[in-house]
Symmetry: C2
């Protein structure tokens, strides 16, 4: 186990550095010798030691990715994309789940720093994420995705959260819904906050008042969303539509809708941010705000590699568009009948 450069050199009857040259593809080596070296390496099952190399060269072939939770449907395609472009460049990715916990986030940043990653993409918990700051201070290129960070001005790849949410809620309002409930995630996250803003903007624009009693924030799990939705639905003045700021909350809310006996589309309008496959499988397919998830990951990773490759230009902030997928859950509301 573990042949080293020296072993290979001995076996091939050349020096230490010749082997290094051959194996790192440098020119100026007689083909004949090169062949002998390669043979020796193969024979010994030689595997270069990335740590030693990286220690010497100050270059790493690992990047870090700090995300909120791999289990979230929105996140997986972006992780996948990051991994794809990294792997295409011969890099591996160190994955970190921060769970929207700033403490975890920081300790992961520290860990990435220790591991000497070449760069990191991070979906920060809050806007003032110290993690991104810490990494940047440590000289590690950082690009933010999903959420921007304020603490330090780094590249970012996000979507137009306000616009997406506003379009969704405007669509609901235009379809005749008047009492739209808002089920939102943690306000520490810029995404949730901006989606709430979009919700407000849509109301403002159309002059329809927001029913504060129908706004529930700081929802973390789908169970919490289910409970909140149930309470609203059973309340004295229930909503006639629901907007959720992410798919996880949507799943919870839908469970509550199901047990309320209300029928989506006819009795209750529904739109959610995020567009997982299953929204199309429901009896009443869901209208959604789709994000270009895979593309977000690609662009974030590409931006990172641009920095790793030495680009020192001013930070660039890419804002991608969402697209409203209109489906049956927001069919135009029949006007309230005048007479029974």
């Amino acid at each position: 186990m573990g042949a080293t450069l020296k072993d290979v050199a001995q076996h091939a009857g050349v020096s230490y550095s010749t082997v290094s040259r051959v194996l790192s593809g440098q020119p100026h080596v007689r083909p004949e010798v090169a062949a002998r070296v390669r043979e020796a390496a193969a024979a010994l099952g030689y595997v270069p030691d990335g740590r030693a190399r990286s220690l010497k060269t100050r270059r790493a072939t690992v990047i870090g990715a700090i995300v909120t939770d791999v289990c979230q449907e929105f996140i997986t395609p972006v992780v996948r994309a990051i991994e794809d472009v990294a792997s295409r460049r011969g890099f591996a990715v160190l994955l970190a789940n921060a769970d929207d916990d700033e403490g975890k986030e920081e300790s992961y940043a520290e860990l990435l720093l220790q591991e000497g990653v070449a760069g990191a993409v991070v979906a920060a918990t809050g806007d003032r994420s110290r993690a991104a700051l810490r990494l940047a201070q440590g000289g590690v290129p950082v690009v933010a995705f999903d959420r921007r960070v304020d603490a330090v001005d780094v590249d970012s790849v996000t979507v137009d959260n306000v616009g997406g949410a506003c379009a969704a809620v405007s669509h609901l309002l235009a379809a005749g819904y008047r009492r739209v409930a808002l089920l939102a995630g943690l306000m520490i996250a810029g995404t949730a906050r901006m989606r709430c803003e979009g919700f407000e903007a849509a109301h403002r624009r159309t002059g329809i008042p927001i029913n504060r009693g129908l706004v529930v924030q700081e929802l973390r799990t789908s169970d919490e969303a289910a409970a909140a939705a149930a309470q609203l639905l059973e309340g004295p003045r229930p909503p006639d539509a629901v907007f959720t700021t992410n798919a996880r909350l949507a799943a919870g809310a839908l469970a509550a809708v199901r047990s309320s006996g209300l029928r989506l589309g006819s009795d209750l309008g529904f739109v959610t941010f995020d567009d997982p496959l299953w929204t199309r499988l429901l009896e009443c397919p869901l209208t959604t705000v789709a994000q270009p998830t895979y593309d977000i990951g690609c662009r974030a990773a590409e931006a990172l590699f641009r920095r790793i490759d030495g680009d020192a230009g001013p930070p660039v902030h890419e804002v991608l568009e969402t697209s409203l997928q209109v489906r049956a859950s927001t069919m135009p509301r029949a006007p309230v009948p005048v007479s029974q």
Copy 2:
């Protein structure tokens, strides 16, 4: 950027190795000196270099995880679990998507070897995975999960695929379904193969013949599953129930069912391996074979750490149970009416 041990030593007015001792928590250092060192380290924003440490100690704090695809719903909770237990032990995880491609799998194994990971959990593509073998040969502890590997006898954590599938199909048969279609994934994967075996076992046990025309294998994507299902459903002798070997295929098949106009539960029985949240949200909730996904990840990671900690006992193979979640999609079939 990048204060080193030497810098800290200078700053604190002590020697090189004293700093090392303090920072790695060794005893035999005067508290007073230790405090001064710690101060200096903090002041300089010192971050230990994991690579250098690992190079010297031959111990790493990174483990690798080779999976098929993070986007698969089954996989995310297990990745999450692996990450959770690793992080609890101060380890990070290097994630690799092999996509059921043996080439990719091997090159990732090589990469993990180069990075000097302390160990790796791998969901191998085929039974004869050279990746696991390569890692094991390189002296890296390996534990297989989801699928066992034959090429080398390492610990494994899997579920009873044959039993789970057999239970599901037996349930279908007992409920009166007689023409059960089988939509299966890649036969190179032991999981798919064993689930097919379960399908056969259930038929064998009940004496009901398998309709070979209703068996479709080597399905990769949900679109392929949709196409296969559509073809079956529109054929001359359509199935009266469908069993899919994973959630991805189920989603595709369901799309086909939806456009066929057939009603789940009443017109067509349906069971799938895997139990994502959304199966409960459908108009007709799905009967499923649930795997203890998070638990699989935990046990795999724990087994790995046992090896990393030096356990040299014989390989242990944990086989976890699946559980059949009976829901509306398999309601007992009404006997065919004798007269109209």
